[in-house]
Symmetry: C2
Subunit: 353 residues, 2 copies
């Protein structure tokens, strides 16, 4: 007998990092920013006329699109905004990857890519990174349905050179190449200028890390207007009003405050470099992270043991059970005080073993 259950969509969803809510916790597991958002955000909350919330938002989020375009020195028609970069990437997958050829991305990368490919029934191949967790450009030369590269990559923290990226793009002129720059503000530079040179390149960024607004769900993509228009067609076939009125106001306010952004970014990078030195001292090894996290492995004590022991102390880092990376911890960069506590507790755990 047939049943409504026969036609339920069966799918294995992405599993985000846990969101514990303990008074004394140190939360270094989802790459959030340890500093509050720009001071202007408080002003938006204080002055926003709540009676306006009865109205639908501007479907084009023009205020936010304008602020992003101004900051990045691109045209408004080159900007797409969404509910976090996850939403932006999901829509890009739907808009661009409609070929029968598989799309390509690394075996070790943001673990949402294969989830979206499964959800939208897009064929895909995962290309192994080398042992230093670097992309091998020639792996991406063959016929394919599109390319997705996180740069810097997650959860490894490794950045590819712009030359390596451009080499891959040059070999992929007839498909869309997505560069997911969620962590780019902590690295040596964006590939954004490539959108002027290559009409098939889409750059995706987020407000969740460097702009301290993970809670407001804002991400954006930049690329040639034809790519952006195709994304908007998909967007407006799914949800006419994806962004809340407050996300638009808060996002526009935050991106205007360049000096606060530069200041917190610098602090996080300084803390990251201090943490690298301390982790080295404790016997960890890791690639040269260009993000707000460090992906590290200890030469003697297993990642799982350290993960569990830290958790007992209410220090949350991230551990993936996936092959090749199961002996690594992904540690987000918190405040100096938080990282000192992390190092002290980790040192104690390691000495115990």
């Amino acid at each position: 007998m047939s049943s409504w259950k026969d036609n339920l969509r069966k799918i294995e969803p992405y599993v985000p990092g846990e969101q514990p809510d303990l008074e004394d916790m140190i939360k270094l597991n989802t790459n959030e920013n340890p500093y509050p958002p720009a001071p202007g955000v408080r002003k938006v909350l204080d002055h926003y006329d709540e009676s306006m919330l009865r109205l639908y938002p501007d479907p084009n989020s023009s205020l936010l699109v304008q602020a992003i375009a101004k900051y990045h020195k691109v045209d408004e028609g080159q900007v797409f905004v969404g509910v976090g970069s996850d939403d932006v990437l999901a829509i890009a997958f739907m808009a661009f990857f409609n070929s029968k050829e598989p799309i390509l991305f690394p075996d070790i990368t943001y673990s949402f890519y294969d989830v979206w490919a499964e959800l939208f029934k897009i064929p895909y191949r995962q290309m192994p990174l080398n042992d230093a967790f670097e992309v091998i450009p020639s792996d991406y030369y063959g016929k394919n349905g599109g390319v997705v590269l996180a740069n810097p990559n997650a959860p490894t923290g490794i950045a590819q050179s712009l030359e390596a990226l451009e080499d891959i793009i040059l070999h992929n002129q007839d498909v869309v190449v997505i560069i997911d720059e969620a962590y780019v503000d902590f690295s040596k530079g964006t590939a954004l200028r490539l959108i002027d040179k290559y009409e098939n390149v889409l750059i995706v960024q987020t407000y969740s890390k460097s702009r301290s607004l993970a809670g407001m769900r804002i991400g954006h993509a930049m690329g040639n207007p034809e790519l952006i228009a195709a994304m908007n067609d998909v967007r407006f076939s799914f949800n006419s009003y994806p962004m809340t009125r407050l996300s638009v106001e808060i996002g526009a306010e935050a991106i205007r405050d360049v000096s606060y952004f530069e200041e917190t970014k610098k602090k996080i990078i300084a803390t990251r470099e201090w943490t690298k030195r301390e982790l080295l001292r404790l016997g960890f090894s890791f690639g040269d992270s260009m993000t707000n996290f460090i992906f590290a492995s200890h030469h003697r004590v297993s990642a799982e043991v350290i993960f569990e022991k830290l958790k007992e102390k209410h220090i949350f880092v991230r551990h993936f059970s996936k092959e090749r990376i199961s002996n690594y911890l992904r540690i987000s960069i918190g405040t100096d005080e938080e990282m000192k506590r992390l190092i002290e507790e980790t040192e104690a755990i390691i000495e115990e073993y």
Copy 2:
């Protein structure tokens, strides 16, 4: 030669009502609530600790789910929340409509249904309403992949009886039946209790109309936990954190204020009934709207003329060029003052012709 353009998704998006932004306008074109949201919303904005926005939201939006469950007297496991009811419905389409048989919905109904069906490549058939814009239950008896009914229906405003709905559900036990209750708070009653009786029924509601929060993008679905779990699997395969932290806080606060909700609802219904009498006096005919809008046709002056003339006066109503309904105006219910202005201006337009 192949090009990245070959694999762009080509699709005709939904076209929402225009969002003009004029100082003196009377906006009766997108069924928004003329009253501000519950007073507690101001308090949320004043007291929310903006430094929390650096953190991702709770992926389960538990605070909001709990408040909705409490208000509707259902279990938390029976509640799904999304970014407006459009997001909720889009996810329901993906989660439930994976059969090769066509899903069924009326020819005149919310015009996003066929857009989602196209987007997700779901076969569909549109069943003609009768001349009074009523659903004919026996049209839905045959083999199909699912049923979607807006009740009260949009843009007609007509509500079907619970008996008619239950008759359709009884004939469709092996597919999911979605009842889209976007406007139900202005009608005589919800079909919510049917979810206890039928495990294949999903009720969808929204905060955008009766709760004056279109700008915060909150919608929800209620149904048996297996339906909700299937929707969450799709949700978490698309975007881990769809709801902003502020949407969750504001939504939970708003739904707790039952007396404010009842009061504004009653005012809108009273204004609607007054407007019906006035429109009758001016020679309009319409079905008995159970929503916060009236779908009306004039016996002599064409809808398009009235629409354009009102627009010149900065009064915005909605006109659809679609067959069968091209001589109707959909007029949202505003404040008493706004509706008086509408009636005066409409009377002047009609006298002129």
